[in-house]
């Protein structure tokens, strides 16, 4: 028996759209025929605003793009500006940046695990994920006083030096995380319902994924070893020994496994960076007012959500002519319709969750 096709509006206020995304769905009973994301409910005019601010004033606003991984945004922007201005960052500062960025990746992935599980209905995991994340936020709070919009990486280096007590605190937190991760995995990994909801759902092949511009864990879940930390190493990432976790099927379950494995790799990187933390300055000598001669650069990093890039063009003044962000969530979300077609309505939530989108960086 055929049901009438109905249009279903999901969002901009819906519990599982991770913010103010709106999805226009066409469903036949519960089978999804079309998905059209409608963006812009959080469009704050960031890029326009940046053109009226100095280079250093832009940094705190980058915190508010991907607010689950603010330090990664700081890092990407600062690296672009440093490349543009030719600032050489001291080695110690580069290590501190790696430590901060990897801790941020831990926090982001832990939060994702919680959100994802909550979307599927395992609400306890949300609480477990956030509890583990709180420990990392404590480190940020001790480091520079903020929890979420950290603003810890500045042009030329970092805000503060890493002192002894903080280093031992980071080590203590890193030791706790595998235990918490094991708790989460024991609830989900082999759970039949979890597997039924994730294995084989939202599949995309490696070729299609690259064609859609997919980056980050969803791409690596297809078996494509594209990680900017390995491809074009930045900020001394080539000093560290770590693996790029890969999936095989490109489905939601593999994205989950890839992210959990990345948590373990991040712990490894932070450990190595703490062990090998070189002596020296934690920030470069900077001019009081940063004026950059006309030029244009593009710099990318591997953010928790995928490849994050900044195009910065200078015009000789202390303000950028244009700053353009290439946000991973924006480009990852494009493949949603391809993954959702023909699946059930419940799967849309799972697939959307598995892409790990943050509306702050999609809408800018």
């Amino acid at each position: 028996m055929a049901f009438r096709e109905i249009d279903l509006n999901m969002g901009p206020q819906h519990p599982s759209t991770h913010g103010v995304l709106r999805l226009k769905l066409a469903v036949d009973n519960e089978v999804v025929l079309r998905v059209e994301p409608v963006l812009g409910y959080l469009h704050r005019g960031m890029e326009k605003l940046w053109e009226s601010l100095t280079y250093t004033q832009v940094v705190p606003l980058t915190d508010r793009l991907d607010y689950l991984a603010s330090l990664s945004n700081n890092l990407a922007y600062c690296l672009a500006v440093e490349k543009l201005a030719g600032i050489e960052v001291p080695r110690r500062a580069r290590y501190i940046r790696v430590i901060l960025a990897e801790l941020q990746r831990l926090a982001s992935h832990l939060a994702w695990t919680g959100f994802m599980a909550n979307d599927i209905g395992a609400m306890s995991v949300l609480l477990y994920g956030f509890e583990a994340r709180e420990d990392i936020l404590d480190i940020f709070e001790e480091y520079c006083g903020a929890r979420l919009t950290v603003h810890g990486i500045r042009i030329g280096g970092a805000v503060h030096d890493l002192d002894g007590p903080l280093v031992s605190r980071i080590r203590a937190v890193l030791e706790k995380i595998p235990k918490r991760l094991a708790d989460i995995r024991s609830l989900l990994d082999e759970n039949r319902i979890w597997k039924e909801r994730t294995v084989g759902i939202g599949r995309i092949t490696a070729g299609e994924a690259i064609d859609y511009g997919l980056t980050g864990p969803p791409l690596r879940a297809c078996g494509v070893a594209w990680d900017m930390r390995k491809e074009i190493p930045y900020s001394s990432y080539d000093d560290f020994d770590f693996d790029v976790p890969l999936g095989t099927n490109g489905d939601v379950y593999d994205r989950y496994l890839v992210r959990l494995e990345e948590i373990c790799q991040s712990i490894r990187i932070v450990g190595q960076a703490l062990d090998g933390l070189p002596e020296g300055e934690y920030k470069a000598k900077m001019p009081r007012v940063l004026k950059i001669a006309p030029a244009e650069v593009f710099h990318t990093i591997e953010a928790p959500k995928g490849v994050l890039g900044f195009t910065v063009r200078s015009n000789g003044t202390d303000k950028p002519e244009r700053v353009k962000m290439k946000s991973p969530s924006f480009i990852n979300l494009q493949s949603l319709e391809h993954m959702c077609k023909g699946n059930l309505f419940s799967d849309v939530i799972g697939i959307l969750g598995s892409l790990d989108i943050v509306l702050g960086e999609i809408d800018k």
């Binding site: 074009i232 593009f298 990318t300 494009q334």
Partner: protein, 165 residues
Amino acid sequence: MPADRADHPELRKALDALTGRFGNAVLAGAADKGELAVRLTKDVIVPALSFFKDELGFNAFEDLVVFDNLNSPDEGGARFTVVYRLFQFPGAARARLAVEVGEGESLPSAVPIYRAADWAEREAFDMFGVPFEGHPNLRRIYLPDDFEGHPLRKDFPLAGRTVGL
């Protein structure tokens, strides 16, 4: 077009292949630090993009950036510069294709070649008012459909033209 420096032999070869194929349409070209930067005339942008994808192996579309040259005129003197950024995986090479577009002029859409360009072109249309011909769904992406003006143009005031609510 001769390149200034070349530290990536493949990119250098790619640049030569491109110049050989498109001739005078390649206005400038350089291969530097793993990035192949070319300036093209806008009528060859679609064949150039498919040349990059199919023959040079730049399989990933990374970004589409538009610059408004109102206050700092570019070499071409046109109002907008549209930059396509492509990435080669594996190989970790980048390509930067720049074309100049005057105000009110349109560009052919890159969506048939790179599906990832879909939203990027809608964003460029929304923010700068650069239309892309042949785009499957060219509408504003961020702002409401009845919004007037294109906010990222240099002559658009930060706080907007009309007072909000």
